[in-house]
Amino acid sequence: MTEHLVQLGYLGAAGLFILSLMWMSRVETARRGVRAAELGMLLAVVGTLIRHEIVNYELIALAFLVGSAIGVPLAYLMPMTAIPQRTAISHAFGALATGLIGTAEYYRLAAGGVASGSVIVIALMFEMALGFLTFTASLMAFGKLQELMPTRPITFRGQRIVNLGIFLATIVLGAVIAAMPDNISLFPAFAALSLMFGFLLIVPIGGADMPTVIALLNAYAGLAASAMGFALGNKLLVITGALDGSSGFILAVIMCKAMNRSFVNVLFGGFGQIQQSGGTQEKRSVRASAPDEAALTLDGVQTLVVIPGYGMAVAQAQHKIHDLFQQMTGRGISVKFAIHPVAGRMPGHMNVLLAEANIPYDNLVEMEDINPEMPTVDVALVVGANDVVNPAARDDPKSVIAGMPIIEADRARSVMVVKRGMSPGFAGIDNELYYLDKTQMLFGDAKEFVGAMVKELNSDAA
């Protein structure tokens, strides 16, 4: 009887998770989606707790307390600019849980004498491999995003061979254990290899590729949960894992498309190392403007498009951008924000920051929708973005970023670029946009510069 009730609870939970993703499609219903997912989780947890095999409630309660004590501050104290890191560390915890559950289950089965090559053990091997590698990979991603380690890709000679070797060794060892599950002495080596593989996977990946990588890790975490479902014969886990897995893969594919690169290229490319040019680069001049000059230009415009990038997040400039937005819209000027899919360090990063700064989401426009409008735009204001507005991607078939879709800031009537200096972006290449006659370079910290500009505009208005 109880078992039927539990299964019904799981069924309800699966249905709620599906509804939740459906409601996530639009802002108006998204919060309902979160409620549905919470309710689904509650059903699943309560359902599991009332199973009659469960006896050790004190331990479970204690674990819930400890977990909440860490999880709640993590959610409330992290600034919005740190959302990518938080997501990465959260992936790490989820993946660790999956790996540990697999481990406990494996030892239990090995002690009980399980048949060689049984589906359960194979599923467990998948679960543990994915869980462990996602754990270390997410920790590494966290380290790079939090800048605890260099965000530039780290490459060394023979890196791909080493990675491939470890990958194959993990698979072979996993297969051997699945064939001889009683031989527990091999298990620690398997776990170590999986952990090492996850670590090495992220070593060659640079900061700007993080959106793709985080999405992929999301997918792996989902697949690990599905594999656990196969091992435990639990349909709820299989469904939830499949939903998460497809979500992660879709986002990763969207990110790859937005950079015109393949998965393989992102994972093994070592993209974004500073290119050693042959010293032929001549010093080219740019037009630099001070805040008051920039404000003067902004004074007479009808339409303004702001193109934010990761630099805006680093400088925490979103609130000053909001002041500018207020000032300009107050004068009846149309202000839009053009969001490139890979701007920032995770999918949708810029949208969250601008929403945090109280910019209405109807003013956030996707790349494909803004590009046809660009020739009629008076000023394109680029804040902390670089490669995603580089016309070389469109015009120069030999460029490393050739074919990457860009926001066509260069087609606007005039361009302003807020930037700390002339250093190249992630792709390590120069940006023609900066040398156009219609471009003003606004050198300085984005937050201070935009703040100074707003002050000028204010005094003009007064």
Binding site: M22, V27, I54, F93, A224, A225
Partner: protein
Amino acid sequence: MQLDETLLYVFMLAGFLGFQLIKRVSPLLHSPLMSLTNAISAIAVVGAISIAGEAGATPLARILGFLAITASVINLVGGYLITDRMLKMFKKREAKR
């Protein structure tokens, strides 16, 4: 043990459904979407509870289960709270006065 094929069917159908649902999510919401799916993947807590709470659990299973519950709960609680915190910030343009 034989493979329970229904699980494969379930996996395939849920995968397809996931693709269809996620494709329709506005890029505006990709960050909250990711943190929500991250929170949902804490469903692993179900497995962790079974491992830690079972009557016949070995000390090793209890320790691993305890750690696994803790880790999933961090993921779960943090994921839901931050998703909601993000979504609360998305506001429509105010009506013109």
